[in-house]
Amino acid sequence: MADAEQDDEDYVVEMEGIEKRFGEVVALEDVTLRLRRNEVLAIAGDNGAGKSTLIKCLAGAHRPDAGVIRIDGETVDIDSPRKAKRLGIETTFQDLAVAGNLTVTQNVFLGREEVQGPNTLLGVLDKGAMRERAGELLDDLKINVDVDEKVANLSGGERQLVSISRTLLSDPEIVIMDEPTSALSVEGADRVLELIDRMQDQGISIVLISHNLDHVRRAADRVHVLHQGRSAGVLDGEGVDRDDIVTRMVAGMPESGYGERAANV
């Protein structure tokens, strides 16, 4: 299968020649990732392939040692998570960042509360406005949970939905999702995958990291495979052959037919 990458596309993110080392260990070497506007791009790869390191470079948690990152065609230096957020990049993490003893509304707004008067620690919460806005946000995403419910009383899937909707509060252009389905039941994962579809409908461009190839094939327009810190090809998600992904995950970029490189490694 030919790599599905052409240069006249409208890319919202371009990461070119990214390299990242941790001491002697080379985590990423000359990786190029391009995210098209309004697509879901999955990153697949075995443990240690560099998936997390790559998206952390985009989320501002790591700074690449070499390479260029462009957002909407402009070269940017993403030196902190805060900077990434300013550029319209939000990230959801694998281990749910939610506070169980707080309500859905409180979780959606936590750390970014709307207040009446000066915005200090003693600022007075505008509870009505936040509740209304959280309700609208969840309605738009067809997430059917009570905004006044304590998050601890929700199922794992619902908690993940709340955690994801947190990232959408700031109206981001790009959302990075690190293993959003890995800790969930089948039903929970289903709902998260449906949410990813709806986010795409709303015009958001998404980078999805997942170990689950069924989820990858269902949600992604394209699949970028990483192998030992290097790109192992980009495949069209629709109708992508599962074995093709697995082969590249295990053996890297095929040079002359599958499997040969594996023998050389």
């Binding site: 939610v98 506070a99 003893n101 970014r112 003693l122 600022g123 919460l125 509870k127 199922s155 947190r166």
Partner: protein
């Protein structure tokens, strides 16, 4: 997908529903237990003694619980935030004797008396400083507040003895003793101070970002940190509040006693903490409120007052308090899990 109606399929969703229902009924013990307990005590003592449910006796109860109550409100803040403050009784002492010594111009401050208002400000500032030190070391360096406030306990104790020369300070200005010893509209000022602070504190908890963050951090500090909350400022803030409230308790104690005694905090460390837990606040932070603390304070106060009226002495009262506290923490932990 969930099945509704008359369908008795054992699907994961029906199991979930049952689990939630069971937890709700157990959780309701934790939630309504304290108020049921308090009402039960009222009913029992009303039946056992005709003097118990009189206006005069109820005012007595309020007056008796006010000092412990002010301290309990203060220490509710760190407890909700999954911290603890063990220094409150000694901060009460050191602030009380400092205010008295400066206002009178005695002992350590011999011949240097200052206006009462300034003395009060200096005293409460000293209290805040104790909270700030333990709060900073806890929030900045991760030393458990159990240890930092224990250190403050010794420090405040020693400083109180130095300032007062280990002797009572008498002859306090009447404007100073009025704060805790006057009567306003037929109510002891002590009680008014207690109830005002209670309302103020509940407003802070319910309506400010600071209050919300206390719950968020008490529930899961790491999550709160990752969600962008200034965890350090909030943890420090709760210990400062607790120390200032202990200081205010010291101030009103001057009015209650009419003098400052270097040992006036004796036995006042644990009742406030017990009251907070009796009121249903989670032992490990994240849930509880000031109404609960009020209920807890009243349970302790009513128990003592009622037992007194029916002729049970101090030793019997301690036994009863121990039993009630054991039942309460049992309900608390069972209710939370």
């Amino acid at each position: 997908m969930s099945y509704r109606g008359e369908c008795f399929v054992v699907s994961p969703s029906t199991v979930d529903t049952n689990a939630i229902r069971n937890r709700l009924s157990v959780a309701s013990i934790g939630r309504y237990g304290p108020i049921v307990g308090l009402v039960g005590l009222y009913v029992a003592f009303t039946l056992l003694n005709e003097q118990f449910l009189t206006v005069q006796n109820q005012l007595n109860v309020l007056q008796q619980v006010s000092i412990v109550g002010i301290m309990a409100i203060g220490v509710t803040f760190p407890i909700l935030c999954a911290e603890i403050d063990l220094s409150i009784a000694q901060v009460l002492e050191v602030v009380g004797v400092t205010i008295a010594t400066i206002a009178v111009g005695a002992r350590f401050f011999e011949g240097q008396s200052v206006p009462v208002a300034l003395a009060v400000l200096v005293g409460l500032g000293l209290g805040a400083a104790f909270g700030a030190v333990s709060g900073y070391v806890t929030a900045r360096f991760g030393v458990p507040s159990f240890m930092t406030t224990l250190a403050m306990l010794f420090l405040a104790d020693g400083l109180g003895l130095i300032v007062s020369g280990n002797r009572p300070i008498i002859g306090l200005p009447s404007s100073l003793t009025a704060v805790g010893g006057a009567t306003v509209f037929g109510l002891p000022s002590l009680v008014l101070v207690f109830l005002s602070l209670l309302i103020l504190s509940q407003v802070i908890l319910s309506y400010t970002k600071f209050g919300l963050y206390i719950y968020a951090i008490g529930g899961d500090r790491q999550s709160a940190e990752r969600m962008g909350i200034n965890v350090m400022a909030v943890r420090l803030g709760t210990l400062v509040i607790s120390a200032v409230f202990a200081g205010i308790a010291g101030l009103v104690t001057l009015g209650r006693l009419g003098s400052a005694v270097p040992t006036m905090g004796a036995g006042l460390l644990l009742p406030p903490i017990a009251a907070v837990i009796l009121g249903g606040a989670n032992l490990f932070g994240g849930s509880g409120n000031m109404i609960g603390t009020l209920v807890g304070v009243l349970i302790l106060g009513v128990l003592q007052n009622g037992l007194n009226l029916i002729g049970v002495g101090p030793s019997g009262q301690l036994v009863a308090q121990g039993i009630v506290l054991m039942l309460a923490v049992l309900a608390n932990v069972v209710g939370q899990n």
